[in-house]
Symmetry: C2
Subunit: 450 residues, 2 copies
């Protein structure tokens, strides 16, 4: 069903591996080569969908016929693909955890062809969701205690991406999403107010606000900037007063000088005794705009953050890679300029006390005293080790993020010119890399022991 | 099935409209408020998927139960949503056509609640695909006559986005895609070579190239930068010579100084009499890198363009909007700072001779002599007027793009600091806007005739 959701070269390589009996287990490592300039850390996300992708990876008859008729795949290759399922093992950093450049987010060990075929899908899912979670985390850092709402769905990269954005932003502490289907799927709180069209469809602003307050008496939020913002706030005050409402309500500012308008709105609301009415801001927000509003002391209680978070506008992708690190008992490297890889299956050892930076070592190394290994087994023989409901997975990931955020040094948390903590390579891994790279340069190969 | 693929506020507004008998036809206009800095034009894309979205928009029982149980939708609202289908009319700019800021890409006329509910989905689909097509068009402009291949799937925003990128880049003339499922779906040419892991899985580079050339005798393309690029090119030469191959083949450069390496590779290949072997470049490419390579006279025959095109890295979204312009017989405007809208259903009148800029007028205006209207009817009463196969839709859109590209002035085509042609507003539309805005400011409303 999903077998063609891959790059053509994966299929061609897989067929060739099978023909040449290259069927030994291979380990591939998925990691970010470097952090975007403005990132002091990444938030691991996408693992749940990645495991679902692995569990369902297979070829149906139509897909096999397409490969036969259009790409010259012969019967032995088609027969091998027809029966192919992902039967490998996966170790990964759990969703919500903070990671840095070069640290494996995920490692796959499986017969070579299987591990190769899933490259495109795994890279895609992990890169996208980690990109968005990392951007959304910066919005969270900027907002202080204010509530954050995901408003991104209308400009994410396609309809399906909207749900990924809702989920990734929920992991880093967004309180709600406008995306109803994503809210249902992941157990999130959906949130929604009104659009300018609602105001315009009524004869005037007051009529629109009155109808809305009657129809949605629990916490109605009025969009006040359609014609003139202070007049819109006054209209909201008048309607709430007229209806005798003293419960939760809000006004939303969506354009103009948000700090100044928020102060004006607060003054108007307080003068009317409506101190409980909250102010929500939206419209072109990102972490930098929010940080500016917070620094200016703007009395804003919540932020609706859309496009810039949902496409991670300043860094819409990661320089992620999925690289072969071991084939059979042979560790391998790549020496391409600027893209050198480290050999062998790996582990990341973290100091929970926070004084020492992370150490990337070999999977087979013992954990140094007092260090916590980040990668855990999540799939064995093609089956997940742990199945939790979609909503529970998000909640657990959010808890992990909260704990790691508390651990993260200020230098990595700050928005401007953040500096990630030092990540070093263990002496065992460094030694192996030296031997394998020297052998590759000389055209020889080496084995794990060599 | 798709009804919850929307923002919560659309559902709340729709329920409220129905309760207040606001059921007159409304026209919404979808357009980009401004072009990103580096864009001289946009390429309309996404209409085919947008129409499918409209045709399939509906609520199933589970979705209605979710709204009842979690959001307090009452029985009349649920009954209205249960039977709701999109029954409206759509006029749109056909895919592949070149457009500019403020020009409607699409206009929807439907009973208010229907037109409101589909806002999020329409904005999402059109914004995403138009963003990518417009970025890919710049790569096309940079590459001169070289062949372009979409390599983006691994880092698009989720698995579904990969197919959208393959399609959008095909519309602007990309020759092939690595994405197999997208190739099958849209009748594109799939393309694929080998990864570094393939080279590493064999005992040495020559063994890998030999196996690949035997397995894929038609136009094998060897990835030559795993260890050392000139040595890799020589290995490709040796294997082709050893196998007596003189047909189509290629080498792919994926790292390092691509211009210098391409020259070195060309020299090695030509010295061996392999003048037919092509050179393909990949790795972090975008229009600026490609323009640099072309300017340097690098002997590169094809480019594999991935992430930066697939996420439109410098401008990953558009400032798009879906705005109410008429309700019943009443044209409406929004006066929010920086986001003022023009009232009324519109048409764009283009001068095919190219000497005069586009004019945005009212839909009801007669086309000025010699001018071509850009928006055409594509859906009436909720049904498409024209159904073509997916592959045919892409081919036709590509033809439209080729024609519009030939029409586009050089000032808008250039990569650096492009200047879009002037777009003016007809005197009829300007007059209407003045009257409606004055009325809105004074709190009165107006009608089409007023």
């Amino acid at each position: 069903m999903t077998g063609l959701r891959t790059d053509l070269y994966e299929l061609r390589m897989a067929a060739s591996y099978l023909r040449h009996d290259l069927t030994a287990p291979a380990t591939f490592s998925l990691f970010a080569r470097r952090l975007p300039d403005s990132r002091g850390f990444l938030v691991a996300a996408g693992l749940d969908e990645a495991l679902t992708f692995l569990e369902t990876f297979s070829f149906d008859d139509d897909e096999l016929a397409y490969l036969r008729d259009n790409h010259g795949f012969d019967e032995p290759a088609l027969a091998a693909l027809a029966g192919l399922r992902f039967t490998g093992d996966v170790r990964a950093v759990p969703e919500g955890r903070v990671v840095f450049a070069d640290e494996p987010l995920l490692e796959v060990t499986a017969p070579l062809a299987e591990a190769q075929l899933v490259e495109t899908g795994l890279l895609n899912v992990i890169t996208f969701q980690t990109t968005i979670a990392s951007k959304a985390a910066r919005c969270r850092l900027a907002a202080g205690g204010a509530e954050l709402i995901d408003f991104a769905f209308r400009r994410t990269h396609g309809l399906a991406a909207g749900a990924g954005v809702a989920r990734a932003s929920a992991i880093v502490g967004f309180a709600a999403t406008s995306h109803v289907e994503a809210a249902r799927q992941y157990g999130l709180r959906p949130s929604g107010t009104m659009a300018h069209s609602y105001v315009e469809a009524f004869p005037d602003e007051r009529a629109a606000f009155r109808a809305f307050a009657v129809d949605f008496p629990d916490n109605p939020i009025f969009l006040v900037d359609t014609y003139d913002t202070p007049a819109g706030v006054q209209a909201a005050v008048d309607v709430l007063t007229e209806l005798g409402r003293s419960g939760p309500a809000g006004v939303r500012l969506d354009s103009g000088d948000l700090a100044a308008l928020a102060r004006q709105a607060r003054t108007i609301l307080d003068a009317a005794g409506l101190t409980q009415v909250q102010i929500v801001a939206s419209g072109g927000l990102d972490e930098d705009v929010i940080a500016g509003l917070v620094a200016a002391g703007a009395p804003i209680d919540g932020y609706g953050i859309g496009t810039r978070m949902g496409v991670s506008s300043d860094a819409p992708s990661l320089d992620s890679a999925y690289k072969l690190v071991t084939y059979g008992d042979r560790p391998v490297v790549k020496l391409s300029p600027g893209k050198v890889t480290l050999p062998g299956a790996k582990q990341v050892f973290r100091d929970p006390a926070g004084s020492g930076g992370d150490v990337i070592g070999l999977h087979t190394e013992p954990s140094p005293p007092g260090r916590e290994p980040l990668l855990v087994s999540v799939m064995r023989g093609g089956r997940r080790l742990d199945t939790v409901a979609a909503a529970e997975a998000v909640r657990v990931a959010r808890d992990r993020f909260e704990a790691d955020l508390a651990w993260l040094p200020e230098s990595a948390r700050r928005l401007a010119e953040p500096v990630p903590p030092a990540v070093t390579v263990s002496s065992e891994l460094a030694g192996l890399h030296e031997r394998v790279a020297a052998a590759a340069r000389s055209g020889r190969t080496t084995t794990q022991s060599g």
